[in-house]
Subunit: 309 residues, 2 copies
């Protein structure tokens, strides 16, 4: 049912009746552990801590990478990683995604051998290390993307989204030390994924979108993380025209966003934000002074740090 | 002069007369750019944004990795990266570190060919991608490290350090979107490095320590970033017995810290902190209620985000 709704991206009257399609599940016992330590007074203190576990990804017979993840959506993470690294293309048909929890392995099977194996072998020999290679691949499709120009971002949506996201129960609010990414449409958040790395969170959203056929053109992407080059590249390659963060920018991130015509909004907290690219999509329909500042207890402090227990 | 002082790690009477050996230089025009955009009112707004630039690292003739960095200390970053990835060992003598700014390349030259080339080729063939390999190498020395047990962390030092670090002029305070790491001794911060990735910041400190002969046993490491497994592994392998963060924990980070006997303190903000490993080194000589909460304008909000301009 929810997956059916997800396909109806423009059916606003239906979406507005929905809550998130996917949202954090802080009650999931696999994702946090209670750990006992001492606090500033030397007293015993128990606190919630986020789990990170390795996940090794295979594309057909080829081992690709081992990621550290909270492990809630290995299948979406696997598919989204491959798409965002340009290791899967639109022509590749995914026959299956198998996750084996006992050995922390996920295998994505496609109908044909991808050309990634050759590509990897060649690049590994020439540039030595796939960390560089991965980044090279990441840029591969960037120049070809044509983001829609006629979509809008109303500031009333932006304020409604950030308020909704900040008050949604999450692993962040429970345990801290985690990043969040949200796919939204107008003022409605659809997918809210969290993970120890912000790139895992965006990859899980990319995987969900691919496997459930969500279209990107009319969507808004929100991240708690910084607007670095890599974040901009992924958003553009996913075809999403608007990227919002409560964090700051890097120069290269801004340059790439301008090159691609991405609407790039940072430091979105309470009534404030600043847009450094694609400002033309913004419609100022809200009065910022009507927006209250974030309550202090809901502010994300530190580098995704959480509240002391 | 400063480098001479750095070698005198235990000469407390000299150190206490010093400010930082290395501290952020927010006035350095290479590190930030002024960018013009629009704010929440649709008004033109100018803001400081941190630069990130690629740096390709060679070890002798072998290309190792391309990193994104602010680029302030390419030589320290290069050496620290190689040490922390176990691509250089104590036996390797560094003959030179050459940085070519025009092509964003840094070359570290050693007296003998390291065995890393063979290691990389082998692992690349077996596990497909050096992203996994890098992590494997990272753990290589972890089990062998014996952290000193008799060092102390006075809570008065912890409070003095965090206050000093938070009020030191930095790229973070100017532009946001950046991580900071600090090497300290007792209540005195010695090296304060910033970078777009927290691992670059710790690697720059490792490189500085190696090239200037700073000893780790009596040091304290502070990071604005989360206490993940990778952060714990690097701190332990650098031989530093105490790791403090204003951010939160991950379960695996805590497990590794306990295994290594590392003192691991998180969520250190204002008077509060929580220790989840190595609590025995903590000496409670300060009254937390004498410590004021952080002024709101100095709080690090968001995922290393900064203040709106």
């Amino acid at each position: 049912m929810r997956e059916m709704l997800a396909g109806l991206g423009n059916a606003r009257h239906i979406l507005s009746m929905c809550d998130y399609i996917v949202k954090p599940n802080p009650a999931d016992e696999r994702l946090t552990e209670k750990i006992v330590g001492v606090d500033q007074n030397g007293d015993v203190a128990e606190t919630s801590v986020v789990v990170e576990r390795p996940l090794t990804l295979f594309l057909n017979k080829r081992e690709i990478v081992t990621m550290m993840t909270i492990g809630d959506y290995p299948n979406y993470l696997a598919v989204g990683y491959l798409i965002n690294q340009n290791m899967l293309s639109a022509e590749d048909q995914i026959l299956g995604v198998d996750y084996d929890e006992d050995i922390d392995v996920v295998v994505v099977r496609t109908d044909r051998e991808t050309d990634f194996e050759d590509k990897l072998r060649k690049k590994t020999l020439t540039s030595g290390c796939a960390q560089g290679t991965a980044f090279g691949d990441l840029m591969e499709k960037f120049g070809e993307v044509d983001l829609p120009k006629d979509v809008q971002l109303k500031t009333s949506w932006l304020y409604a989204l950030t308020k909704e996201i900040n008050t949604t129960p999450s692993l962040y609010l429970q345990a801290g030390a985690i990043h969040g990414c949200v796919l939204a449409e107008r003022d409605t958040p659809l997918l809210y994924m969290e993970d120890v790395g912000r790139h895992n969170a965006i990859d899980k959203i990319a995987g969900y979108m691919a496997l459930h056929g969500l279209t990107p053109e009319n969507k808004i992407f929100y991240t708690t993380g910084r607007l670095t080059s890599e974040m901009v590249i992924k958003t553009v390659q996913m075809g999403i025209p608007i990227l919002i963060s409560r964090s700051g920018f890097t120069v290269w991130g801004v340059e790439l966003a301008r090159q691609a015509g991405l609407t790039l909004i940072g430091r979105a907290r309470g009534q404030r934000f600043i847009a450094l690219s694609g400002e033309n999509r913004i419609v100022y329909d809200a009065n910022p002074s009507d927006v209250s500042d974030e309550p202090r207890k809901l502010q994300r402090k530190g580098s995704t740090g959480g509240q002391a227990a």
